[in-house]
């Protein structure tokens, strides 16, 4: 029972981080109608910046600069590429983002090399026990921060002018333009928010129990992709549920490896994709996605 609770808690904390990344996917999709595959390298860029800068300027400033760098990189992708290709087919745009991703990723891997860069989190690698259930401090803090950010995001999305403008232009871009809503600005802001969320996710993903920043951090962002898809690519609530679902699945599959050994080792790595495929077979537009999505 304790093992189950522990896996559940760890799964939720991992899922909260996935949810941050998935929210980014979703708002970019809503604002720019782009399925953005750049997230993996943006995340790695954030983690790399934080790790590299921590030694010279200290942890907290490094985090702030790291978030700024990912936000800026996301904004540049939007301004220099996506915004100029407005109206291009969704598939072309997706392929373009894959191209950007590969370029950025290649450069980052070259810089990181075979090393594992250490991020000196002040909370270190310690674990805490809550009623017999163990979790790393890093993941616990991640869960709290992600929770606050997600709530803040949903409040802004529901009540702020940006949220209303964003939902209006996601629903009918031309009508929104006729109301004087500047789609370019809405879209740019969405990319910035997605960049910051990816940066925060990066900060926690490279902490305990993960050893540090290596090229492998990239694959983590890819796991947030099934989270966004199975929740429904145009649903922010779906991103949250999808993220948690994927996190819990992964933790469970890894924790009960022995019992699942007939599926082979490392099933935890592929479990998110298996869940995504099963969900999509039953609900092609995801758990909370709208059917009209198929028009795109």
């Amino acid at each position: 029972m304790n093992q189950f609770l522990s896996l559940l808690l760890n799964g939720i904390s991992l899922g909260a981080i996935y949810a941050l990344i998935a929210l980014g996917f979703v708002i970019i999709f809503k604002a720019s109608e782009v399925v953005s595959f750049t997230h993996g390298s943006l995340l790695l860029l954030g983690a790399y910046s934080i790790a590299r800068l921590s030694d010279s300027i200290g942890f907290l400033p490094a985090v702030l600069v790291g978030l700024l760098v990912t936000a800026l990189a996301a904004l540049l992708v939007e301004r220099l590429i996506i915004n100029r290709l407005r109206g291009a087919p969704v598939i072309s745009l997706a392929i373009v983002t894959i191209g950007v991703d590969i370029i950025l990723l290649t450069e980052l891997i070259r810089r990181i090399g075979p090393d594992i860069l250490n991020v000196p989190h002040p909370w270190g690698g310690d674990s805490v026990r809550i009623g017999g259930v163990g979790i790393s401090e890093n993941r616990l803090i991640a869960m709290g921060v992600a929770g606050v950010l997600i709530v803040a995001f949903f409040v802004a999305f529901k009540y702020s002018s940006w949220g209303v403008a964003m939902r209006a232009s996601a629903e009918d871009g031309e009508a929104a333009a006729l109301m004087g809503i500047r789609q370019g600005r809405v879209s740019a802001l969405a990319w910035i928010v997605a960049g910051v969320l990816a940066g925060v996710a990066a900060l926690f993903l490279v902490g305990a129990p993960t050893p540090g920043v290596s090229a492998a951090a990239y694959t983590v962002a890819l796991r947030a992709f099934p989270a966004a898809i199975l929740g429904g690519l145009d649903s922010t609530g779906g991103a949250l549920v999808g993220g948690l679902l994927i996190g819990i699945t992964e933790a469970m599959a890894a924790g009960y490896q022995e019992q699942l050994s007939f599926l082979g080792r490392g099933f935890g790595e592929v479990a998110p994709y298996v869940v995504m495929i099963i969900v999509l077979l039953v609900r092609p537009s995801g758990l909370f996605g709208t059917k009209e999505l198929t028009r795109v």
């Binding site: 209006a168 871009g173 109301m179 004087g180």
Partner: protein, 261 residues
């Protein structure tokens, strides 16, 4: 206030939808533009609002002037901020947003807080139903209520010139009558109106001046009441006497520009 001079617009570099149209909307007036499908009415409004580009359309010639600025080089946001707001054809309200959020979205181009508050009061006074339904999803409103919301949403930007694209489309005759009264009231409150319609009875009832568009050209223009009396308008738009032959002959050209639009 608004003056259009020998305007030519093509879609996709091939289909000419507007072929040399000139018209005037004087300050404080209601001007109607009549015409059947594919006459170029919506294209005209898209040109004024700056959304041609979204439809792969382009101004080849001519100018659209609002007071002293040429609008053909401006983007939709700038045009809204100058005081021209469009209620698009088919209402195009944001169905997944609430009524209140739709009005908020309409006020995005309006930076002046006091003006926005005033606009809300004006919209609620014109359409009390929007106040009652403010928390409801707009997609659940009836057709007539959605049209009122579409007009209310546009008024949130405090326009000086309101463009209406076929507000009577798909509505019951009684509701069309109400829409006509609302347009007259909005005009009485000081907003100029450019009304594009197929329903000539309603349009000529509220308009001061009218233009008849036919396959991208102005075929008739003048005082609304006088126009309502002319044979051509009677025949083509008010349903007295049939001009079937002519219509059938012109049909292919109209559908062509419609499909590619």
């Amino acid at each position: 206030m608004l003056s259009i001079d020998s305007l030519r617009v093509t879609y996709g570099g091939a289909v000419e939808a507007v072929r040399g149209v000139s018209m005037e909307v004087p300050d404080g007036a209601v001007v109607a533009v009549l015409g059947s499908n594919g006459a170029g009415k919506s294209t005209l409004l898209r040109t004024i609002s700056g959304t041609l580009r979204l439809h792969r359309g382009r101004v080849d010639e001519g100018t659209v002037r609002f007071e002293d600025t040429d609008l053909t080089r401006r983007d939709p946001g700038q045009i809204v901020r100058r005081g021209i707001v469009q209620v698009p054809e088919g209402r195009r309200i944001f169905g997944r947003l609430t009524v209140e959020e739709n009005l908020r979205a309409g006020g995005m181009g309006n930076r002046d807080r006091a003006a926005k508050a005033q606009a809300v009061t004006r919209v609620h006074d014109l359409f009390p139903v929007l106040r009652e339904r403010s928390g409801q999803r707009a997609g659940l409103l009836s057709g007539g209520e959605q049209q009122m919301l579409a007009i209310g949403r546009a008024l949130m930007a405090s326009p000086r010139l309101l463009l209406l694209d076929e507000p009577s489309l798909g509505l019951a005759p009684r509701v069309i009558g109400q829409i006509g009264e609302v347009i007259a009231e909005i005009n009485r409150q000081g907003t100029s109106v450019l009304l594009v319609e197929q329903n000539a009875t309603m349009a000529l009832g509220v308009a001061d001046r009218a233009y008849v568009l036919d396959v991208g050209r102005v075929s008739l223009s003048g005082d609304a009441r006088e126009l309502a009396g002319t044979d051509e308008v009677q025949r083509l738009y008010l349903g007295h006497g049939a001009a079937l032959e002519q219509r059938v002959e012109r049909a292919p050209r109209r559908t062509l520009s419609r499909w590619t639009a």
